[in-house]
């Protein structure tokens, strides 16, 4: 165990700057800290509520492609953020729905439910399932919940330097899980993200698994203002371990139409849209 800790420490000390893309070491002290970057990302305006369509395209390494159409809603409340996703097609997954309450209090575990039409029951899901992949995609339940935010409750962040993604310059931040338990739960030992510091959105991320192997790459693109709010329209995830990939396409994004409170209930996910 001591050897592992020593190795991990050495890896962290020596590999960070080497992994940083276009790191500018002499500017490092002038750059905002990782925590500041994380705070800026998480305080970015996301609107009080949003509704949107989400198309999911999943491809395996042999080229087999599956498509999903969903409708999603998210709303901020005083004590929590509530998110619900309804599957509209295809038939084999239609009417499946996922509901989560993500509490502001980091001491409180998220509350999650999944409606499975084959059982006609709403199942309570353990919040520690958050590292499991979400319904066959390359996004985990935690990724789905966070959207483009990052978790300061789970990770320590440090700024490594500057970077460039999709022609936009930004800041390279590294995230390391605060505890081994968190790393095991999430399935990540490290993240490396290029954050566009003009709009405080992550444009590109890489994730390493708990054995420190490169696990997946996430590319966020087609970022445009919708109703005055910077909004991603495409998220591409490539899993390097399995060769599987997932493309998420957001459309009909609407921050202004009211989202009813009763859509974030177990009754609503049972009834469907």
């Amino acid at each position: 165990m001591q050897k592992f800790i020593l190795f991990t420490s050495l890896f962290t000390i020596f590999s960070g700057p080497l992994l940083a893309e276009n790191a500018v070491s002499n500017n490092k002290n002038k750059l905002p800290s990782g925590e500041q970057v994380a705070t800026n990302i998480n305080s970015r305006d996301e609107g009080e509520a949003v509704s949107r369509k989400l198309s999911i395209e999943m491809s395996d390494k042999r080229g087999k492609t599956r498509h999903r159409e969903t409708m999603g809603y998210r709303k901020y409340y005083a004590a929590e953020k509530r998110t619900v996703i309804f599957y509209l097609s295809p038939k084999n997954i239609k009417d499946t729905a996922f509901l989560t309450y993500d509490y502001n209090d980091p001491e409180l575990e998220d509350t999650q439910w999944l409606y499975l039409p084959a059982l006609r029951k709403v199942r309570r899901i353990s919040a520690s399932d958050r590292g499991d992949y979400f319904l066959g995609t390359d996004m985990t339940y935690e990724d789905i919940k966070l959207e483009t935010r990052i978790s300061t409750a789970d990770f320590n962040f440090q700024t490594l330097g500057t970077c460039s993604a999709d022609g936009n310059s930004g800041l390279q931040i590294e995230g390391t899980p605060k505890t081994k338990k968190i790393a095991r739960e999430l399935g990540y030992s490290k993240t490396l993200s290029c954050v566009d510091n003009k709009i405080w959105m992550v444009r590109h991320s890489r994730f390493w698994d708990i054995k420190d192997n490169l696990l997946k790459t996430v590319t966020i693109s087609n970022i445009e203002k919708v109703q005055g709010i910077w909004t991603q329209h495409n998220i591409d995830v490539e899993n390097h371990k399995t060769g599987h990939s997932t493309k998420l396409t957001f459309s009909a994004v609407d921050y202004q139409s009211p989202v009813p409170d009763d859509i974030f209930t177990t009754n609503a996910i049972k009834r469907g849209l």
Binding site: P90, K91, L119, I125, A127, S128, D132, T266
Partner: protein
């Protein structure tokens, strides 16, 4: 806007059911016709139609010699009409055909179906059933679901304590998915909010009951715990089931209150229903030919009061159900009761623990116990009956492949059932599976009675939208 004649939807179904429509069907149809007429004729409402078809084929063979047991084809067309204001009409039917005479759709207690829910039997090997036909009408603080539907209560998997609103077909014992074996009923289902609680009220005038296989069908029950065995030399005559037939007075009613409270999903449930199993009341006599028993099956009412809960703790989910049945009727032991049935009460619970500590894996154990209370005489069943279940479910290849083990074990008799299943989704609309069902234990047991029916199954499902 497309126009659809309402009579095209309802009249053929009424013809299928019976030439003697009764008050209840007329009432339900009248309500549906009135609502649908408003929806279809008003220019203020537009609607769109979603349709889909699931077709499946399943081949099964005896495990020990691979001799063919059955080949079954199923077609399930579904239509959903969406109107403005989130009003929705769902129609789901099922056409099923099978090759094995011992699984014939007609070899069941078909009079356990009400006139309004009975499938149409086509020859000896096929059946057509309107599975579901209901209208959903949301309003400010109410949500109405009117028509033929399934209502599922409770938190347990595979073991039923509160999931008793709809009766069930035991044509394939408990091997069919509950979604397929539940018998949907015509009912009024109203949901509303009362403060922090969600309330659901059910009125179920449709008097359908559990459907059991008969006449030496593959899954005809033989356990003496379920079917009384006459002593040698006693002649037996079984009368038709005396079914409750009063539309209003014999209706089932139910009420569920549920809420989310400090991390707990809670519900309180009440049901006033006929027990869905017919009770084989006996009339014993001595005739010139010797002892004679006349069986007069009857249904009896009970109040059911119960509740359910679930919560998550770290890697674990704790869930459970409990129910108290005020009036239970048990098979009496020997001649301890004059009509072979003894009255009492019953308390049941199921306690489940799910563990999700391994990636894409769910391991779940359940303990189910029921206790017969206040019995007026000795019963064939033990006072306490216990069943354990284990579920291990693992998905891989981005959930295109699923491996599942289910083990059910009755600890009173020592019998049980092992189920293994592997399924693979080749495409979004194409799935295949292979499974085995293996019984063990004494033939007196609920599971052991089917020890000769171990089977290997291969299936394929194709969906169209």
């Amino acid at each position: 806007m497309p126009h659809l004649t309402v009579s095209k939807v309802l009249i053929p179904y009424a013809q299928v059911l019976s030439a003697k429509p009764r008050l209840i069907l007329a009432t339900i149809n009248a309500v549906l016709v009135a609502v649908l007429s408003c929806l279809f004729t008003s220019q203020a409402y537009a609607f769109d139609v979603q349709s889909s078809l699931i077709s499946s084929a399943e081949w099964s063979a005896r495990s020990h010699n691979l001799k063919r047991q059955n080949f079954q084809l199923t077609l399930e067309p579904e239509f959903i009409l969406r109107f403005d204001k989130r009003v929705k009409l769902t129609a789901l039917s099922r056409l099923r055909s099978m090759s094995l005479d011992a699984l014939s759709p007609k070899k069941v207690t078909d009079n356990a179906y009400s006139l309004y829910s009975k499938p149409l039997f086509i020859g000896n090997s096929s059946e057509f059933e309107l599975r579901e036909f209901y209208l959903e009408i949301p309003s400010d603080n109410y949500y109405f679901t009117l028509g033929k539907q399934q209502v599922v209560w409770g938190k347990a998997d595979g073991l039923k304590v509160l999931d008793i609103v709809n009766p069930q077909s035991y044509r394939e014992f408990i091997l069919e998915d509950f979604d397929d074996s539940r018998i949907p009923q015509w009912m009024v289902n109203i949901e509303t909010s009362v403060g922090e609680w969600d309330a659901q009220f059910l009125w179920i005038p449709d008097q359908s009951y559990h459907v059991l296989p008969v006449d030496n069908a593959l899954y005809t029950p033989t356990s003496p715990l379920l079917i009384p065995k006459p002593p040698p030399g006693v002649s037996v005559e079984v009368e038709p089931i005396d079914q409750p037939g009063r539309t209003l007075m014999d209706s089932d009613v139910g009420l569920r209150l549920s809420r989310f409270w400090k991390g707990w999903d809670l519900s309180l449930n009440y049901l006033y229903q006929y027990d869905n199993f017919a009770l084989p009341y006996q009339r014993r006599s001595i005739t010139a030919n010797g002892p004679h028993v006349e069986i007069e099956p009857q249904y009896r009412r009970t109040h059911v009061l119960g509740g359910s809960f679930s919560n998550a703790f770290d890697d674990w989910v704790l869930r459970g159900e409990v129910a108290y049945f005020s009036d239970r009727y048990f098979l009496a032991e020997g001649f301890s009761d004059i009509d072979g049935i003894t009255k009492g009460a019953e308390a049941s619970y199921v306690l489940g623990l799910d563990w999700a500590g391994l990636e894409n894996t769910l391991i779940s154990g359940q303990l189910f116990q029921s206790a017969a209370l206040n019995r007026q005489s000795a019963t064939l069943r033990d006072k306490t009956n216990s069943t354990l279940s284990l579920l291990v479910n693992h998905t891989l290849l981005n959930e295109t492949m699923e491996l599942r083990l289910v083990w059910l074990a009755n600890t009173n008799i020592g019998d049980g059932l092992f189920r293994l299943r592997a399924s693979y989704e080749w495409q979004d609309n194409l799935k295949t599976w292979v499974s085995t069902d293996t019984y063990y234990g004494s033939e007196e047991g609920i599971f052991g009675q089917f020890d000769d029916n171990d089977r290997l199954t291969f299936g394929v499902e194709l969906a169209f939208e």
